[in-house]
């Protein structure tokens, strides 16, 4: 697999691990923003290969983890009212206040797992007598395809298609984390694929304001190790720049075509984050001219409000303030079989990652 195997190379990865060891003089807390990076770190066993002084903190970039509880309840409400709900795969096991989408499906709901929202438009076209809703979650990465699905439906005059939007943005979350008094992050590995869409512009003011290095990083072992090296290098030198490790994919200006589609359909608004609460101007919502495609308005479900489970400390986990094993529920009342909160569900979630990978083996 060209462009993958090179980045899984043993020797190259080792040479960067050695370089980190060579230059590091004190402990640093580095947060990888994206769940895909968390997954890459654990899947490849990188955490145990890193020098002890590098402390990786798993960030909030797991779309499943930050989608608020009430959105899941809203999707379930639709499923129970004869609406075909289409969703990305790992969303369906996340517990709502009473049940998950998967349980609602078992009780008769028509739930479809898709890889692309454009498939949902096709389903709407093929089922003109049914309402079809796509559960549009995710960061900037999934926004272009979700926006495109709305444009397709509009162009083809498909009236029975709408989206349940819960789009969140990375930079406001980074700010929220840095503003938290308990936060102790020294550097970020920026989310490579988010930046592939958005470009680097938004990150310069952040690096400047908080005096923090931000390394836009990819997902393969070599990417991750190189990203960590670049972060440590800046930290040791006492500088704070935005650096692009993932230049083979991320361009300074981002993906112009994708940005155009996003800006055509979405506008920035306040957004609730699961476990963190509302962050101002931290997500996308549909523009007024697309309100016919807004499932919340169409089905009058915007009033569904549910409190978070008070036993779940997902917020502190997502901000990197607490490690999963510092939670009293971890591993007993909360496991991947019966998750209390979203970080235990997704393979990208910090709690699930710790449950699966980080036990006596890793520490020994």
């Amino acid at each position: 697999m060209k462009y993958l195997s090179e980045y899984r190379n043993l020797e190259a990865t080792k040479s960067y691990l050695n370089l980190i060891e060579k230059i590091i003089t004190k402990p640093w807390n580095i947060m990888e923003i994206c769940g895909g990076q968390t997954h890459g770190l654990v899947k490849n066993g990188i955490l145990e290969l890193l020098p002890e002084k590098v402390r990786m903190i798993h960030g909030p970039g797991c779309p499943v983890c930050v989608t608020p509880l009430n959105l899941i309840d809203k999707a379930i409400e639709l499923l129970e009212n004869d609406v075909i709900v289409c969703s990305f795969g790992d969303m369906i096991r996340v517990p709502g206040s009473k049940k998950s989408l998967m349980e609602a499906k078992a009780r008769g709901g028509d739930l479809r797992i898709l890889y692309s929202p454009l498939e949902a438009v096709k389903i709407a076209k093929n089922n003109p007598n049914k309402e079809v809703v796509f559960f549009a979650v995710g960061f900037e990465t999934t926004a272009p395809a979700n926006a495109l699905s709305v444009l397709h439906a509009q162009k083809e005059k498909i009236k029975n298609y709408s989206i349940l939007v819960s789009h969140v943005l990375v930079p406001p979350a980074m700010e929220a984390i840095l503003d938290d008094e308990f936060s102790n992050i020294n550097a970020f590995l920026g989310a490579g694929h988010v930046c592939a869409i958005m470009g680097l512009q938004e990150y310069y003011p952040l690096a400047e304001k908080y005096k923090i290095p931000i390394i836009i990083t990819g997902f393969e072992p070599l990417d991750l190790v190189q990203g960590i090296y670049l972060a440590v290098e800046q930290l040791e030198k006492g500088i704070y720049n935005v650096e692009n490790q993932y230049a083979r994919v991320v361009k300074e200006e981002g993906n112009k075509a994708a940005l155009k589609v996003i800006h055509q359909v979405f506008e920035i608004g306040d957004r609730e984050w699961r476990g963190i609460g509302e962050i101002p101007l931290s997500g996308y919502r549909l523009k007024k001219e697309f309100k016919d495609f807004d499932a919340e308005l169409k089905f009058g479900i915007s009033n569904i409000v549910v409190p978070e489970n008070s036993d779940c400390i997902a917020g502190d986990i997502l901000k990197g303030i607490k490690k999963p094993f510092e939670c009293s529920q971890f591993g007993n009342n909360c496991t991947p079989f019966k998750p209390l909160g979203a970080p235990m569900v997704s393979s990208e979630g910090a709690c699930a990652a710790y449950y699966h990978f980080s036990n006596n083996l890793i520490s020994s």
Binding site: R8, K43, E48, L49, D90, F357, L361
Partner: protein, 341 residues
């Protein structure tokens, strides 16, 4: 077979009534295809004679789509159960065959499935000795479900049990993993992608038999990693033996296309289903010879040793990644779900 002879182009509730329509279907399709002395008695069951210890295994097949690249549900229903019997260290002899058909299934599809069952049964040397056909109303099934139960004679040299597994034993895979699961994924609604990946469904009984002939009780375990993939089966074994298992990522036999499809869909090939793959855990002293024997068999061309049993980390499967890191390989919890990004 001339389908017009049957008078119906789809299966309907009448075919499961137990009356004349059922009899017609049985006579013209089932008995005609599978004719043998046991089945021809047309009794409620079959009376069989088996000299030695017997191994029995049952399995239900509910796959969608029922026709897929590299096979269909009928072939799978034979190979799946034949392989389960073979994994017990036995030589499969007889199969029962039960259909649950959803009304509306096209008769030509039913006949095609029956014919595939016949071909697969002949290929693996088993006879269909008893069976059943039920029809359910439309909406109460998914075209066709098949249950088969296999009976086999335990190989005289076999001593297959997790209790025989020792530290240092080698773990050998006979072939490429994740082929079946990815072939099915490539044809699922909403996921279709162009590929030439085909299911690896096949019968493994002749290869396991050869291994037992030659290596006898040096073969400690056979297991076929179907649903849940290699990861889930190895996790179960580690749990049973109170020792650990170490495997090496760079040894996993993986077709390039399958690897690429897994990357695109965000799936881990270790958890993807297989149909023509088995794990042999063998005494280290015969491991190299086992691989050579497999390599000379059509179902073992890609056979390779992927790891071994270790005292370290009891109950756990650990994989050493390509870059030298280690991670725990956990069993599959629910369905393997594609990640968002």
């Amino acid at each position: 077979m001339d389908l017009s002879e049957l008078g119906f182009d789809t299966i309907n509730l009448g075919h499961g009534s137990g009356g004349l329509m059922t009899r017609e279907l049985l006579d013209k399709i089932i008995f005609k295809t599978f004719s043998n002395p046991f089945l021809d008695q047309k009794h409620d069951g079959a009376i069989l004679k088996i000299e030695n210890e017997i191994a029995i295994s049952t399995d239900s097949f509910v796959i969608s789509p029922i026709f897929f690249k590299g096979g269909n549900i009928g072939e799978l229903a034979v190979n799946g159960t034949v392989n389960d019997v073979a994994m017990c260290g036995a030589i499969p002899k007889y199969l029962s065959l039960a259909f649950i058909v959803e009304e509306g299934l096209k008769m030509e599809e039913f006949v095609e499935i029956v014919n595939s069952i016949k071909i697969a049964a002949d290929k693996s040397g088993v006879q269909i000795v008893t069976g059943d056909t039920k029809v359910v109303e439309r909406g109460n099934g998914d075209k066709i479900f098949i249950n088969t139960t296999g009976f086999g004679e335990v190989h005289p040299k076999a001593n297959i049990s997790t209790a025989n597994i020792r530290v240092g034993d080698k773990i050998i895979l006979n072939g490429l993993i994740a082929q079946h699961g990815m072939a099915i994924m490539s044809q699922r609604e909403g996921l279709e992608f162009e590929s030439t990946i085909v299911s690896d469904t096949t019968n493994l009984n002749f290869l396991t038999n050869k291994l037992l002939d030659k290596f006898g009780n040096k073969v400690h375990l056979f297991r076929d990693p179907t649903r849940g993939g290699v990861a889930s089966v190895l996790s179960e074994i580690a749990n049973d033996i109170n020792n650990g298992i170490i495997i090496f990522e760079d040894k996993l036999p993986l077709d390039k296309q399958v690897a690429a499809a897994c990357e695109i869909l965000g799936l881990d090939p270790l958890y993807v289903a297989n149909e023509g793959v088995f794990i042999a855990i063998v005494d280290a002293e015969v491991a190299d010879e086992v691989v050579i024997l497999m390599n000379n068999d059509e179902n073992g061309k890609n056979a390779i040793c992927i790891g071994e049993i270790t005292e370290a980390h009891p109950d756990k499967v650990v994989m050493q990644s390509n870059i030298g890191g280690k991670r725990i390989v956990t069993p599959l919890i629910g369905e393997q779900l594609p990640r968002i990004c």
